[in-house]
Subunit: 217 residues, 4 copies
């Protein structure tokens, strides 16, 4: 019997796509038991505000020990562990409800940023060692992905025992095949296996590795 | 009983790698029957000259109806059908025998270039429609890949019934996971399935599609 | 007579370079009067800690109304106005004193991030309209550039009347000419003219534009 | 008195642009004397066929000793000396007369390719040594640039004393400033100085350098 709970979130499609790899990947693990913890997958709307309401409902209901939100990052080629969420909504395109906030706060009066509480260095090192392209990212953008990441960290700010963070993932091959400019992609099974390993590492790592995941600029 | 023969070639590892996806992919189809044709896979040394001797032996022995040579293209993100081979060896790094030719002819006195005789537009269109990232490339470089491609087209220049060409493929995920700079990659199974479809299309397409695969520059 | 003061900072060379465009650009404007304000240029060591001590000395001495710190961003192709500084030092390479902090705070106990107080949307729009490639960036990295940017915003956190921020700039052509991989570059004169315009806009813009400078991921 | 003649060609704008850097750069040198040779600059239409008719008129009239055709390469960051022109027109977008040839020959019955007769390795080395980002390119694409390059080499195929080739150049900063995605650019004066040096090197180099300008793939 598993008494721990993992909450995974993925997004509905946006930006003209009919599929979102983040939802495909997390739904595949819904109900799975990973390192003794039961996975619950939830699909979030790609909508400022509504995505956070949905996330809050899931947090209240499930009271998870680990939360990983996932999102699609067109053009990225690896499993991308985000370091920091910033208190900004700045939308280059409209969300799925037609909203396009500019330089608005995710949480008015909230701190400028939150750091992930996941051991992202150990997760990246473990993923790479197992043959999964992975890296630390210094920005989750300013669209609904960053919005959910910031809202997640804000919601859990006083529960240090709960680890949480955000992972951007590449396009699926079938998405990349329809797009110009040869964007990178990653197969669904590889992403699912990578996610499973990432969650195991997140649960089993005590202290994060002291290993650079930095960027010069 | 299959009376047609497909020759596939892949390369041994080079440039510090311990694996070469081109050999991993073609060996997986060795002995398979695709659209009624039997696949023979051969591994070529990553060595100027010796690679072509080995290729010539395989052509003489097998007398294939279809030949596709494959090579690794670090950084590319799709199955990349090459349009043209040029009569130049110009090596930025040494080959596996330590040779580094500069501006030498692949075949002294040979024409400046050969075009593929594969229906590459139909192959790309068919691959994309099936969800495989694929594209036409206007250059196979100037290293051993282009050397083999040129030598292949030269060897078959008077056998118009034999279709032949070259496909560059991405790194495997486990290669990309060890490299800096987050290069793109593609899973082995996806490449094998893509190759199988590419060969089917190469065998079953009568006239190539009239569809641009061009580049502005 | 100009009674306003602008402080510009650039860095000494690092990472094997013999020149740093950020210092070349700001030294060229040392002593200039821009929109009625006198420019003072200071060179910072590319050293964690020491760079901030030097910056603090300049702030104390000059009491500037506007501060713009500049840094080199190898590979970027435009004048890049940074949105946010994060409270992390995470060095992929050693600084010029041999230090390589990993996941250390710039200011222990400081907030997770500071936003620029420059009107970066108006600056980008004005630069582009005048023909200067420019953009908003969501990350200044985790090396000495971000360190100085964070330290600058922290030092001025209680002086809202002083605008301050950070601009990453491309390599100089002579640097790019010596590097493999064809990195982008920008000519010195173009960068100086761009900087002059950026400063004018920073001084003369009342409220920033409501215009997206966001990123999807 | 200069008795040698250099023909430079640039293109009219295309693809929605109002300026083409290739024409801006060559017109700036029209009438100049470089290494004892007089420069004549001609503007070519960005039209398949018509561009070659115009080029042929200039060749007949001027009987130049050196010909360098230039074209815009959106996204490239350096002065790019082309190695090879291929006998293919394959247009992703319509030319300025609305034509969009696909897999047509530039010269029906012509060889598959022509190599440049410029000492491109020496030109690249000399440019880099003087601080100009420069490189050898293995493909000039399949649009009007490659069309003109192929037609040029074909027209001069029996005049080995005349050196000729093609140089792709980056966007101007004012073009890049209006485009999304932060494409690389190069300032007009830098391009003019680079071109002047490239021509001097083309005239004064006896035998080309034995130095790699190759690509792995």
């Amino acid at each position: 019997m598993s008494d721990k709970t993992i909450l995974l979130t993925g997004f509905e499609p946006f930006g003209g796509e009919t599929v979102n790899p983040s939802w495909e990947v997390v739904r595949a693990l819904d109900g799975a038991v990973i390192a003794g913890a039961r996975v619950h997958a939830r699909r979030l709307p790609c909508v400022f505000g509504a995505a956070l309401s949905e996330l809050q409902r899931a947090l209240d209901e499930l009271k998870p020990e680990l939360v990983l939100a996932l999102g699609q990052a067109g053009g990225r080629s690896e499993l991308s562990l985000e370091r920091v969420a910033i208190n900004v909504d700045d939308a280059r395109i409209a969300d799925n409800a037609g909203a396009r906030p500019i330089d608005a706060a995710v949480v008015p009066g909230g701190p400028a940023a939150y750091f992930t509480t996941l051991p992202i260095k150990a997760m990246v090192a473990g993923l790479r060692a197992a043959g999964h392209p992975a890296g630390v990212s210094q920005t989750a953008g300013t669209f609904v992905c960053n919005h959910v990441f910031y809202g997640l960290q804000h919601a859990l700010r006083e529960r240090p025992a709960v680890r949480s963070g955000f992972m951007h993932i590449p396009l699926l091959p079938e998405q990349a095949a329809r797009l110009p400019g040869a964007p990178a992609s990653m197969g669904l099974q590889a992403m699912i296996e990578g996610l499973r390993l990432a969650l195991t590492l997140a649960l089993q790592t005590e202290a994060d590795l002291r290993q650079s995941g930095g960027s010069l600029d």
